[in-house]
């Protein structure tokens, strides 16, 4: 490989405490700019992979480097949308969106502009002063997403960010995501349960199997970016969706 990998898993094994093996021998390299989707049955270790990359949990054995460094050393350039909306209950929506930038030391005026842009993107303009407890489930998730989008991270980790959203908002955000990515060139790890979404967004799909969690198969998606409504309607797209679905089914029924 010519470009050095930005994320490199080598034989990573993960157990929580003295529990069972959750990830077993996970190996892959992610090149800068990759959009990698993780799909697989519930509990197979998708969130765990993202947590390892974010340095929230140590690998049990094997090695994991981010940009050649340990996850702990590297993560200043990372944004993560957790599977559950993780909002500070004492801050209103506006402040919750700003908090990631605040932690990065961005001054307040600059934060305000990014906040407005992000809230507009997730269609929550006008709800700045609501508190988390006053939001619907999907709204909370969108605030959580907006918070990550205020950063310009090198690596973006998205753990089912659209699971609680209706199809149209979902498609809107899919397209926005690809748009921003064109400009900011993140490396993205994306957990989803929608095969269609995975195929539409990513250039690589990891189909995972469970017990213990392994990368069962990698699928390359070669449609050129930018992808559009036309891509969605194309024959090869549909074929690939069906193929990946089949793969997934085969994994799950073993």
């Amino acid at each position: 490989m010519s470009v050095p990998p930005i994320v490199a898993f080598t034989n990573v094994v993960k157990r929580y405490g003295d529990g069972p093996v959750v990830l077993d021998g996970v190996c892959f390299d992610a090149a800068p700019g990759d959009f990698i989707s993780l799909i697989g049955p519930s509990g197979c270790g998708k969130s765990t992979i993202l947590r390892l990359i974010a340095g929230l949990s140590p690998v049990t054995s094997g090695s994991l480097t981010i940009d050649g460094r340990t996850p702990e050393a590297a993560a200043a350039e990372l944004a993560f949308v957790f599977q559950e909306p993780t909002l500070l209950p004492w801050l209103n929506v506006g402040h919750n969106v700003e908090v990631a930038q605040q932690l990065r030391g961005v001054p307040a005026p600059a934060r305000a502009a990014a906040r407005r842009r992000a809230l507009e993107l997730v269609r929550l303009t006008g709800r700045e002063s609501a508190f988390p407890r006053q939001l619907s489930g999907g709204q909370k998730m969108r605030v959580s997403l907006a918070r990550a989008l205020t950063l310009e991270p090198k690596i973006l980790l998205l753990d089912e960010p659209f699971g609680a959203l209706d199809e149209m908002t979902r498609e809107h955000l899919n397209e926005e995501l690809l748009d921003i990515r064109q400009q900011q060139a993140w490396t993205t790890f994306f957990v989803t349960h929608s095969v269609a979404e995975a195929v539409f967004l990513s250039n690589r799909i990891f189909v995972m199997s469970a017990n213990p969690g392994r990368i069962h198969r990698e699928v390359q998606v070669d449609f050129p970016y930018p992808r559009t409504e036309a891509t969605r309607r194309s024959r090869p797209y549909h074929d690939l969706v069906s193929e990946v679905s089949r793969l997934l089914r085969s994994v799950e029924s073993t």
Binding site: A54, A75, F80, F82, L88, W90, R104, R133
Partner: protein, 263 residues
């Protein structure tokens, strides 16, 4: 509307009930025991009769209580921040904080008097010693009880210690902190009172409420003694009221303790 009315009536009702119970107990006391429990109006009269010395004493005790409470809040907050850093630090320091709290005043008072002199200094230190422990324990527990998901959010964004502490752990600990504050607010005036009668001084303007209480007690001036206690309670209510308002301002917008059900 009617609920708002109830909000006044019920507390008022229990108030009337308490006074009723008071009179009933007094009525039930044998004639030669009655002096032990003066009636509210006797206490009121004693309050009026001793208003001058009581108001001077109240001022002194208030000083001691405010300063002791203030130091307790500030120092216990700092200590809690340190204790919250790790289990190890807690295991290392906690026993000594416990000892500080468990040292009987009677052992401390003479040392204090020799060291910083009797009077305001000693009263403030004793008030501090009585108030600080509930604050430390509550605030520390609050700081270490922060939602793990939020802690991970902050870790993930590589928040520094300062940010993790002041943007996350401290606001998350507020419900605990205010619980400690509610306890300390009530302990502050009695702390100052105890300080006053173990290490106060009559210098200058004649001591605080603790001094007065000893004198009234030894002279069997029970109405005046109860008046002293009443003033102490009022002081405590003022402290607790302040804490109540602060707590409301900080928590009412978001904490579940202020939201039992939605409408």
């Amino acid at each position: 509307m009617s609920r708002r009315l109830l909000n006044f009536l019920l507390p008022l009702g229990t108030g009337v009930l308490m006074v009723g119970i008071w009179y009933a107990i007094r009525h039930g006391l044998s004639e030669d025991m009655k002096f032990l429990l003066p009636t509210p109006d006797e206490i009121w009269a004693a309050l009026a009769a001793n208003s001058e010395s009581l108001s001077r004493a109240t001022l002194n005790t208030t000083k001691g209580a405010v300063l002791g409470f203030g130091f307790a809040v500030v120092i216990s907050f700092g200590l809690a921040l340190i204790l919250s850093l790790s289990n190890l630090i807690r295991a290392s320091l906690y026993p000594y904080l416990m000892i500080l709290q468990m040292m009987p005043i009677i052992v401390i008072a003479p040392i204090l008097v020799l060291w910083v002199g009797a009077g305001l200094n000693s009263v403030v230190i004793i008030t501090f010693l009585i108030c600080f422990f509930p604050l430390v324990v509550n605030t520390t527990q609050g700081l270490i009880s922060t939602d793990r998901n939020l802690v991970e959010l902050f870790r993930m964004y590589r928040a520094n210690r300062w940010q993790e502490t002041f943007l996350l752990r401290v606001p998350a600990a507020l419900p605990y902190f205010f619980t400690g504050l509610r306890i300390a607010a009530v302990l502050a005036p009695i702390g100052a009172l105890v300080g006053d009668y173990t290490a106060g001084s009559s210098a200058g303007d004649g001591g605080g409420l603790g001094f007065q209480a000893i004198i009234y007690s030894s002279q069997a001036k029970y109405p005046a003694l109860f008046a002293t206690a009443a003033v102490t309670c009022v002081l405590g209510f003022v402290f607790a009221g302040g804490v109540h308002i602060l707590s409301w301002l900080s928590l009412s917008k978001w904490h579940d303790s202020y939201h039992r059900s939605d409408t």
